[in-house]
Symmetry: C2
Amino acid sequence: MELLASNVCFGGEHRRYRHRSEVLDCDMEFAVFLPPAAIAGQPKPVPALYWLSGLTCTDQNFMQKAGAQRRAAELGLAIVCPDTSPRGVNLPGEDDSYDFGSGAGFYINATREPWSRHYHMYDYVVSELPELLERELPLTGKRSISGHSMGGHGALICALKNPGRYQSVSAFAPIANPTNCPWGRKAFSGYLGDDEETWKEWDATLLIPEAKERLPLLVDQGTADDFLEQQLAPEALADACEKAHHHIDLRMHRGYDHSYFFIASFIDDHLNHHARALGLSRSA
Amino acid sequence: MELLASNVCFGGEHRRYRHRSEVLDCDMEFAVFLPPAAIAGQPKPVPALYWLSGLTCTDQNFMQKAGAQRRAAELGLAIVCPDTSPRGVNLPGEDDSYDFGSGAGFYINATREPWSRHYHMYDYVVSELPELLERELPLTGKRSISGHSMGGHGALICALKNPGRYQSVSAFAPIANPTNCPWGRKAFSGYLGDDEETWKEWDATLLIPEAKERLPLLVDQGTADDFLEQQLAPEALADACEKAHHHIDLRMHRGYDHSYFFIASFIDDHLNHHARALGLSRSA
C-alpha cells in the first residue's frame, strides 16, 4: 500500500492509497477516512463502513461530496471507498461508454472474456480489500456496507450473499433489480454473457427469497430521481422483501434527485443506522 | 435570471442561475442555497451568507464540497456562491495561468487595460449580485460574507471597505496581505498596474488601521497548508489587528491543509458565527 495523499479532516484523516490488486490484476486506488479515535496517540481499532459508488465515480466522489466525515468522526467509524472498476487494463472498448467497463464494474465477478481477466469487483470489495485493510490499518474487522445507485445495489448483493460478513447494510437509490433494467442488462450481458440464468445470483431483488441472513434494509430514494422509473425500481425490491418477510425501510423522499445533494441530506441517518449495528454510541 | 438547475438538499434547494452582469459585461453563473424556511408554502425571507471561493474555483466547489447546507438549513440561512471571475470575455491570456485571469478575479476592480473592461468582481460581489438577488429571491437584505484563500481575502476587503453592509465576516486561509506575496503581487500588477500605491486599498492587512467599522474577524488557518508561509501570511493580518485594536480570532489548526477537507471541518463554526450576528437561532 502506497500512501498517495492525506488530509486532516474533522480531527481524523482522509487518505488515498494505491496498491496492487491480485484479484483484479491491476493497480487500484482507494480512499479511507480514519476517525480521530483510530489515529490518536493510543490508536484504537475501529469498525469500517464500506461505501460503493455509482457509475462514472472513483474513490473520491463520496469523500468530497457526501459530508460523511463529520458524523463518522463523532461515531468513531472508518469509511472505505474503493474505486468502481479495474483501471488501465487495456481491454478493447473499456472506455467507450459510461455504463460499461471503466467506472462501471457493477461489483460482480465477470465470467465472459475479456472482462473475466480483470473485472472481479465483487471479490475485490468483499474479500481482498477488507483483508488488506484489516491487516494494514487500525480496523477491528467489524464491517457495514452501503452505496449509491450501481453501488447501492453492490452493497445489497455483498450483504445478501455473505451472511455474517456485515453488521448492517443500506443503499441510496440502488439499481434494485438489474436483470430487469437497461443499465443492468447491458452490464450483465457484457460481463456474464447471454445466459440469463447466470445473472440471477447478482440481482438483489432475486436474492431476497433465498437470503440466509435477514439484515434489515435501509433504502433511501428520491421521487425526483431521473432514473427512478427506468433503471432503479425500488418497488420490485420492496415487493420481494414483503413476500419473503425481509424487513425493508424504503424511504421515498419527495423532490430529491440522484445527486450527492440527496446523499448528503440523509447520510447521517445511514451512519447512525450502521453505528447502532456496529455497537458504536450515537453521540460524540 | 435563468434557472439552470436545482436540487433539493436538506429540505431546502440548491439552485444554479445564469444572468447578464452589467458591471462585468458578460454572462455569469452563480449558485444559491435556499433553506427550507425560504421555500416553504409560506416562504419567509432569510438572510444570506456570501461565500467567495479561491483560485481556479467556480460557484460549485463550495456547494459540492463544504458540507454547509446541513447547518444552513437548520439555521434558516441562505448561501450565495458567485463565480471567481468574469468568464468567456476573450481577453488575451485570460486562460494562460491558474492565478490570473479566468478563475482568479481577486474580488477587486481592475483599472488596467484590457482587464478593466470586465474584471470588476468587487462591484459585482458587493453591489450588483446582492441587489439582483434581494429583488428576485426571498432574501431579507441582511448579509454576511466569508470565503477561502483568494476569496477569504475578498470577504475581508468587502467587509472592511463597506461599513454597515455586512453583519459579520470570516475567512478560511485568506491571502491576508496580497501586496506582499507572489499571488497578490502578480494579480495586482496585472489588474491595477505598477503603481503600488493603488494596490493599498485592496489589501486587508493595510485596510485594518483605517477601518471605519470594527467587525470581529474569525479566521481559520491550517498549519499544514502548503501556501501558509509564502502566500497567506495570517500573522501580518493579526499584527495589524493587534496594533489597531481590531478584534481577530485567528485559529491555527494543527495538521490541516488548504483543501475543502479543512473547510468542511470548521464550516459549522463559521455558520454559527454568522448566524449569531444575523440574529438567527443556533438550534434548529
